[in-house]
Symmetry: C6
Subunit: 250 residues, 6 copies
């Protein structure tokens, strides 16, 4: 495939594969093995659904999935995944998917998961993450942090950035991949810029108001060691199918 | 009904039903059963009246109503509902409507309601909510929080977001619905964005200044698991009839 | 009278009566009995004079007036009223007008009023207001708070909003009316939005710069249970006659 | 003189007299006897020179002058006045002019003035002001506060606004006049708006950048009990003659 | 020379002399003897080089120079001056130039200067300044403060403004001149406005982005007791020759 | 080579050499020997890659390299360098390259480097820097600080600026060069302006959004003692080759 990139350079594109069309469109090189990628955008742009897509692709590719759930009960996470038609149960049976339940503790409900933790205790959370990370093979684990937003609300910016530094160092040590969800509108822009500096890759989502409704777009702001296009790529959100190409706008 | 959505997709619309015309206009799928929906907008855009409409529709559909009143005396809440012509009394007699009076305590007046609490004590408030939630059947309760604004003013942002996390977890446990009123102009925009991340659905209201007066519009920013239009829908505010379609502008 | 409202609706207007022309112009329904109304605007737009008009109209209509004076000596308040030609003395003799002097204490001057208090002690102030409120009959008292601005400067935002919640609850208990003066430029806009949420009605004033000088306008942002126009209505300020219609601009 | 005011009203103007042409141009009624007037503007717009003009006019009209000097040594103040050609010495001899030296104490230099105080001790400063105020006859004293800016820098916003409330109450008790210099660019705009609420009159200065240099203008934002024009009036700054009409722009 | 000033006034210009062409262009009257002048601008506009020019002109005119060095080692200051070709050594030998070394102490390096101080101890710094000031004759000393920016970073805004008040009072007592370098982009604009109020004269620099690179301009915002033009005057920066007229733009 | 500079001056350019084309394009004079240069820009503009280029050029020119690594494990730094094809190993063997590992300590992992430190202890870090600096010859060391961003996040703005003052003083004492990476979007702009004041040279990067993707540009904001162009110079980022001229845009 032949495209004209920013600055007019003619590029021959050999696609890397995330399995997510609006992102794969933008990659020139293959993604290097495990990266820590942040998903940044305002509420209502499908960030949670994008996390689900990264997770399901990783499971399909033989990796072990770890979902750090700060924003919903484990059954809510399972419903979210089920809504896409993905059959999670087999993966759970084979020890290929774990939820680190950081939500139940907030209502004083006893978690029925194997891994659970109170997110306000960042030291314990750090230890719990180490424990669950060791359930997968190095180089074959995908961690979803849903969401960094809630962590920062509960623990403050400084402490959470400190935890994030440590989390990413651990994930790098294990050569695991990681997807971090971040509501960029909930904080001063400098907080997002600080997080963007810490992660290896940044995917931004935005919603543009138009007379006929909202138009969703994403772009790759940076991706360590990988050439990529830098355009905004329009997409549509389908609660079942995930983020899809918006063909009418390409 | 056939509409052209944002991005030009042709949609065949099968309406879900909230019974509130300016909102139903925007829904493509039916609303999944209980959701936590935030109503965000500046003062004077009819948010309180919209809460009343959600409540009355829920009562008409056989649900139990719970009104967490932080902004007025219980008689003020009853007057507000009576102004719409809705006959509340029968519902109260049958145990189908309760007010959790969080207002009287503020003037040291003894509440004459069965349920009352001082909103500054968030732990007690949390317990009181649990108590009143159990008056309805799971899956058939509608909670109105009027308003989160006042809660944040009395208890601070961090504490109130913490309480909100817990409140929503409890409501999800009971499979109840919830409407949360929020004055988005009274805080830094990041506070609204933070709340929008926590709730399942977001309805935004706005007031546009025009030479002939204010034009009111609402839109659905997000609605978990549901396809919806993303346009701004104009409406008019009638103190008795509620939010109505603004036919002249459709 | 027939007008075309915002959104093009044709309205037949039956005026409610505040006796203040630039406001009455904007009311469709009559004002429901006692309301708490905030007057919001920047310095130099006649807010103090508007308070005076509300007070004098209430006295003329047989109500008892209570002036909570934080910004001037009682003699300054009396001069302000005298400047309009209104004969206050008879009302004071008959116990139909009281000043709650919250100013003299600030210079350590002994107040010669029956009611006085140091505004920095919000608990005492709250008790003093209760005392003076009982001088009038329920449903027939008009309280002027001049000004909330000064209260917030002396006691802080959080404490003052807490006091305001209590003040309004007391006023509602007594079915009294209340006018609250607020310099919206002296604080972060979120503070004004927070106050606007607490009161029943909001009148906004503004000053537009034009090549031939300032043009003053007011509008009704919200008015509980009452239909109203939402346009900006131009007025002129006369130190003696009060806020008058600006006929040249209607 | 006949002018067309803002909003097109034809006004017959009978000038009040401050003796300062760019201000007198804007007054419709005479200034009522003693007022507290704030001069608000950014650095470099001649505020200090305007203070000097108010002071000299007051002295010429038989009033006693009090200069609260926070920004320069007494000799600097005397030089400033001398630069205009005004003969201050006779006034000082007859006890018609006093400097309250609040500057020397800052360098630990012993003041050679009769009245001096350390401005960081607001209680003492308040007492010192009372003392010097009593040197003039009630109704015939003009106080210059040069500057409120420095006071706020030394004592903080809250404390200084508290002091200002007290200062103005004392000045009103004595029926004295007062001119307050305020650098509106040195603080959040809300601080200026707060001060503007406390004083009786507000004169604003501004500097507009044009291709041929800066154009200076002033306007009257408010003036208690007095009708005035609300246009911006251009002026030029002469270090000797003071603020003069900018005839080329009228 | 005849120029048309802002507002169209025709001025006959008798230049004062700073010896710095882009500034002398703007002066109408001669500069009165010693003034405290602040140089305000963003990084990269030649402020340090402008300080050097003021210093060298003062030395050439027979004054004693005092350099308060907070941003570089004394050898760095000497290099900066040497780069202009100015022979400093003779002046140092004759006791006509001193560096108050406030930099070495920051790295725990023993200063080899006669005068040195730790800038974090503002009381000692104040005493040290007094000491070095007395090395010159009253009316014939030029002090360079390089920079106020660093002082504020080390000691905070409030403390540094307090120190600046004292420094300027001392300098006025000695009838010395003073140049103060201030990075106006490193703080809230209100901090610059506060400093501008304290000094006698203000020179502003700015950098305008143009398609062919940056265009540098300066203007005189205020200059006590002196008439001056108020236009922006373009200049170029030469590391050796200093700030020069940008003839192409005049 | 002959170019027309900002302001239209015709310049004969004798290039200094950093070996980095998009920067060398902008230099008129040769860079004076060791400078402290800050690289300022938002995430995703190739700042890390630019640091790598400065380092490799210094090593090629016979200097000793010191990498203060706060953002990745030493192996991550080595991978980054290896990706460019540069053979680091020989340099490490000959004692010509050192990593000061400030990352491993954050995950409690024992560093396998000779030099390591916990960056939160700024005193120790300062001592460690002194130690590693002495491994190279004065005038022949290049220090990379990757990144100041992380340092500020861990230690706060005030403490980090204090450390930076000391670091630069030490580097100047050793006549070493230094490259400082700074994410200018992660803090208030005033923080960047403060840092820009402290360093000798400033290179800014930016990313402009265009319809066909992002266009990267850099410029030299200041460079002590060196004439330079001030235009924005477009470049492209290649993960292997570094920052390259964007020929299509020159």
């Amino acid at each position: 495939m032949t495209l004209v990139g920013g600055g007019g350079v003619i590029l021959h594109i050999e696609k890397g594969r995330t399995g997510i069309a609006p992102i794969d469109d933008l990659l020139i090189d293959e993604l290097p093995s495990p990266l820590t990628i942040g998903i940044f955008g305002p509420p209502g742009t499908g960030k949670t659904i994008l996390c689900r897509q990264f997770l399901c692709e990783a499971l399909r590719n033989g990796q072990t999935g770890v979902y750090i759930a700060l924003d919903d009960f484990p059954e809510g996470v399972r419903e979210l995944i089920a809504r896409s038609g993905f059959e999670l149960e087999a993966f759970e049976r084979k020890g290929r998917f774990f939820i680190l339940d950081c939500y139940s503790s907030q209502v004083g409900r006893r978690s029925s998961e194997k891994y659970f933790e109170d997110p306000r205790n960042l030291s314990n959370l750090s230890i719990a993450v180490s424990g669950v990370l060791q359930q997968g093979k190095p180089g074959a684990v995908m961690v979803i942090l849903d969401s960094l937003t809630t962590l920062i609300q509960k623990c403050g910016v400084t402490e959470s950035l400190g935890f994030l530094h440590i989390l990413i160092a651990k994930i790098r040590s294990q050569r695991a991949g990681c997807i971090i969800k971040f509501n960029s509108a909930a904080f001063n822009p400098a907080v997002a810029a600080a997080v963007q500096d810490i992660v290896d890759g940044v995917i931004e989502t935005k919603a543009e108001e138009t007379p006929v409704g909202v138009n969703y777009c994403l772009r790759i702001l940076k991706m360590r060691g990988t050439r990529h296009l830098t355009t905004w790529n329009p997409y549509i959100i389908d609660p079942k199918l995930g983020l899809l190409k918006n063909w009418l706008r390409v």
